[in-house]
Amino acid sequence: MIWDLYLVMPLALVFIGALFLMLFSLVKQVELTNYNLVTVAFLSVSLIIELIIFQNVEHDYLFETIFAKMFIVDKLSTLFNILFLSGAILTLLINNNYFKSRDYYNGEFFALLLFSIFGMMMLAHTNELITAFISIELASITLYVLVGYNHHSPKSSEAMLKYIILGSLAGVFFILGVALVYGVVGSTYLGDIYSYLIHHQNSDISLLVVGMMFMMVTLLFKIGAAPFHSWVVDVYIGSPFPVTMFMATTLKIAIFSILLRLFLVDFAPIYPLILEIIKVVAIATLLLGSLLAIAQTQLKGMLAASSIVHVGYMLMALYAIGVGSSFAASAIIFYLISYFLSALGAFGILSFLASDEEKRHLSFDDFKGFAHERPYMAAAMTIFMLSLAGFPSTIGFLGKFYIFMSVVETGEILLAGLGILIAFISIYYYFKLIALMYFYPSPNPKKRFPFAISTLLIVGVALMIVWGGIGTGLIPFVAGADGLLTIASEALKTIGK
């Protein structure tokens, strides 16, 4: 019981933090930075506890007597929670300057953010589809509002409008799918679905497949996979930087946490049907994403569109899981971490720059001569771009490498070849930014490196990316390329059927 309380602490802390900030925001005199710090404090404590849990937990149901077996605590969920929490912390800290430079942020922003994180954490913990749906709704609904938080900008409102309508539309499919699954199985536990499939090998499972497909629609929508990607660019561009950052990194990971769980429960009988669709979706995502990215004229749009491509890679690996690859799951987790770090860094630099009053609308042109103006930041940005492009010696390369490896394992050489081709094309649009930074003279004088929490964190993330790409066991306690993979596979071992 005490252990259970201990396990629930991180979630509880996030929720309490949300309530606290919600009430606290009524007090008008408080400075914004303090809200931020309070949020970070809650999240940090939660993160520390999660880290300890990660060392000790194996496979556990929280309050089994009360919550039945819905609330699962294993290393996978803890790992995901660590990612959400650190993502949120990094987002908040890196955007510290940005918050201060805009007048529309207030306490509720942080409360909503915490609600959203709570939803995501719940999603990682859940073993049951209804809970998953509600968690997704919680994470999304609060995020809708965050997207439209900049009420000075019609774009922000427009992004919110689109996101709400399309997000709700997509959400409906999930619950429809759950309902159909429930209709067939009579339960919404993943484990029950699995045992139903084992025991009813001869009965018709069409409805189950249809339900699964509708669930996939929502999940694919939320991660921005190909035919459902139309919202991504607009919403990313429209939202404030911190929110874009949060969406691009954390939300995506959250959705993948449930996707992984779905795929790791071995639904072998329905795979032949679903996997074909997943494969097509993965291919379409890669192609359309790279096409869109190449056409973007706006920096944020490029990053948004390229995030679609990254989803495509993970879908490839997801397909590989279904086909039976043994290392695809850890490859996805590694890729998530790598993309998480890279995108966080890239958006972080954008928001750092955008917090400068003169550069409200950050475009490609603002990066002309950036390397001469801020060499260190440019170096960091280069590292992020390289990592996103999958250039070796960054974590992004290893991420892609593992993914391709798992795809090759399934024998789909052509699919892997397509992935590599798309990675090749992505070189173009990522290097375009590097070219802008280094190839032009700077219109502004050289600036000193600003020693602030946000910039230091950005540099830290850059170092992590490099370390994740080349790191070995040289430094024992910092997980490098190898260590991260160990963590991922350890986490995967603890999930039960």
Binding site: I141, E158, S187
Partner: protein, 105 residues
């Protein structure tokens, strides 16, 4: 004699009409109501299956769904009010700055 199929048919029809509404209409109210309609149709499906299995689980989920519908409604209505306030319209296309072609601005 009633069969689940009939209920499910009606639910599917509701769902389809909701989808049509989403594709057809620009009026935010209609969009909102269409989504509510779809959610409700799922609710009906859940209730039907609950009755079919003879277990209360589906019903409970329906109940939870009603709450979710309410939450959606809250956020949607707030959005409608907000959009109406800034554009004096409930047209979903009243702000379209985020198109590809206008990105350069």
């Amino acid at each position: 004699m009633l069969s689940p199929d009939k209920f499910l048919f009606v639910a599917v029809m509701m769902f389809a009409i909701g989808l049509i509404g989403l594709m057809l209409r620009r009026n935010l109210f209609v969009v909102y109501l269409s989504i509510e309609l779809m959610l409700s149709s799922v609710n009906l499906i859940l209730a039907t299956f609950s009755r079919m299995h003879g277990e209360m689980d589906g019903g409970v989920v329906s109940l939870l769904m009603i709450a979710v519908i309410a939450a959606e409604a809250a956020i949607f209505l707030a959005l409608i009010i907000y959009i109406y306030r800034i554009t004096k319209s409930v047209d979903s296309q009243s702000i379209t700055q985020l198109t590809h072609k206008r990105d350069e601005a």
